[in-house]
Symmetry: C3
Subunit: 309 residues, 3 copies
């Protein structure tokens, strides 16, 4: 039995039962990978259609499909090598691709693009990142990584640090954690706070608590998980503030060592300075484990949305 909704456009409308279902299925995928893959999807085709650069997400989706025996048709650079160049609308493109493949992983620079695609697609659309809106498969693999360590998401203190206004991954993480008994600590420069619609959606679910911080050092001591993301200098109203902010949002070993108990340090990568290499051998560092978990979670999603899990 697959997922009750046909497309994965975001975590906004996914409940804990659906999320747990994905994570449980991903756990089952571990033995599939270690035993050399399966033929579960050997008659299926995935189209990866990416309008923005990607290393991790596209290759991870494709690896997941291969591990399940499926085929892949890939558009790595739709902005320059596809009909987009000729001025085609997203809807027309999707109504074409859905004739070629059984499932579509879509990345697009516009918030809401995944929903727009889902509205017209005859096959499941899995949102691989749409503008500043959501990046649900990233959040799900992060939840898998956390649950792998703590057994559950409930009861944890999770800190998100960085540009929470523009980062789609942290939107999805926050929305997903809204289903659990989680203390969510949000650390960002005042002008890069998570947006109100996200806060409201979390509060509407009535489970997680939210608090906001200006300095990561204040949030770290009680954290079970510290999730780091980039501060994008060019998005600051006063770029010259960057150097001042730097001290408050850059995570190095000294910051990490402020945690009272060993916490998980996570990052969706790539990192460009906001997470020091001296954290790499911290016992809680998981950012090079996350990519492996991403394959398991995307295997689960492909199987579930193709109704084979």
């Amino acid at each position: 039995m697959g997922m009750q909704v046909k497309h994965l456009t975001g975590l906004r409308n996914l409940d804990a039962a659906a999320i747990n279902r994905v994570l449980d299925t991903a756990e089952e995928m571990r033995s599939v990978v270690s035993s050399g893959g399966a033929k579960l999807l050997s008659d299926k085709l995935l189209a990866t259609f990416f309008y923005e650069p990607s290393t991790r997400t596209r290759m991870s989706f494709e690896a997941a499909m291969h591990r399940l025996g499926g085929g892949v048709i890939s558009m790595a650079d739709a902005q320059t090598t596809s009909s987009v160049q000729k001025g085609e609308t997203l809807k027309d493109t999707i109504k074409t691709i859905d004739k070629y493949a059984d499932v579509i992983a879509l990345r697009h620079p516009d918030a809401g693009a995944a929903q727009e695609a889902a509205d017209v697609s005859a096959v499941p659309v899995l949102n691989a990142g749409d503008g500043t809106n959501e990046h649900p498969t990233q959040a799900l693999l992060d939840f898998f990584t956390i649950r792998e360590e703590f057994g559950s998401l409930d009861g944890l203190t999770v800190t998100l640090c960085g540009d929470l206004k523009h980062t789609r991954a942290t939107n999805s993480i926050a929305l997903g954690l809204g289903n659990y008994d989680v203390k969510l600590q949000l650390v960002s420069p005042p002008e890069l706070r998570i947006t109100d619609p996200i806060k409201e959606a979390i509060e509407a679910k009535g489970r997680a608590t939210l608090s906001e911080f200006d300095d990561v050092r204040d949030a770290v001591p009680k954290s079970n998980v510290l999730y780091v993301t980039r501060i994008q200098k060019e998005r600051l109203a006063q770029p010259e503030d960057y150097d001042r902010y730097k001290g408050s949002y850059i995570v190095d070993r000294e910051v990490v060592d402020l945690a009272e108990e060993t916490m998980l340090v996570m990052h969706h990568l790539p990192r460009v300075g906001e997470l020091s290499e001296d954290v790499d051998d911290y016992p809680g560092a998981r950012y090079f484990q996350q990519p492996f978990n991403g394959v398991l979670v995307r295997m689960a999603l492909l199987a579930l949305y193709l109704d084979r899990a």
Copy 2:
């Protein structure tokens, strides 16, 4: 038994028997797709080598190969990511690729490139569009779409509308239809008429009749098929004529409703204004069915040219 000629460079030299053979084989592929694919080409490799942007044609060829169990090696953007950048000739490139793959689907900006490649290739070359010359696989999938509706190509009135001077797909459609008892109506601005060599090739076959129109409204009433393609503003001698032409060559629901009987409305896509979205729910609209048929036809071509059908 495969095709009698080794390469598919265009429809200029294909007769009705060969075309019907492709369409019959494509029909057989329908059950292959619905039963989850076949292993017919599981020991074969397709190279897609594209010197120009493409969504549909490349992904469709690759989907077709996967549905038959074959492998694909892909060069989506040869102009920038291949040895072309280093100044290699097409012939040298083909004499390399034909050592890697069992069949090559080639798109190239130069008219005649497919023939040039076929002249040196040790494996079948399937023309996926060469400059303003031909786009035979597009035409074959269009014929499949028409035959699916009417049972036969003979006896139909088919209208091609748009820039018939520069559009390779309409060249191939016209050349292919030249083998059948078809009334071919050509609608274009006077400066964008289909070229004389195409007309002469059709007349030499002695079956189809040709007539030319300035206004699509005059051609629609008797049409069984209306095939729309872009007017490319930048190719007009007097770009300011575009607005005047617009009324005569843009197809919207009002134009379509002039047909005496429900006609098929087709387009090879992408569309950028010349075919209104208000035609999408016209009962004869087939342009989002064509991509599915494209997979069937390309499956047939791969099987036939690899001598497995």
Copy 3:
């Protein structure tokens, strides 16, 4: 049993036994290809990660993997479509990719990049060209081509002609041949001589002899193999010298006919003028055979480094 070292970063540290092992395994792959491929690596995934344009090397690696039943995830244009654009280090990228695939073929513009990747990768890294350093898989397929003709590399006179200072393929060829009883003749403009570290590495192995020439005509008569590579005009200190050099380093039929016995004429392609098309039907010309051999050799390398040969 696989290779004793985990990665293939170059031929500098490979001995004759290891090289012969690759060539013997490649010979076995001939029957695999002619019998339609094998399932030897059907549970394995290759990642091709290319930061520089490539036709031959990437497609050849991918064809090799397909012929052995394996899957491929591909990054053809990492410079523009991957996280490199966002400023990620090579090490971080590799520590991600090695979670997706079982083996990585890497091309990178920086000399030493393959070693840098190997230092952190959990899976084998096969160097597909790193800057001006090495291109070991090219050299191995060239050795296969030579051995196919002469039965052995020992006892031969091999001439390398062109820009020996900047060409990574000739570096690897020279370093590999250093393990054999070979007379190595090096023909280049004085300012484009092979570098001292390469010479010293060859001399340290104590088997091959080196001699240098200014004019290819002086080296051809005794050659068993003439290996041609480009003179890159833009790398000359005095570009105006190019026309003078041209006569001494451009290989045409007249030059080839100076050989006392039919010699092999080889080139790693693409060629852009330094090797005339009038050599194509010379009986010793092998540059369009090399690509086929490249598939066999890369099949061997994939099987060996994945411990399946």
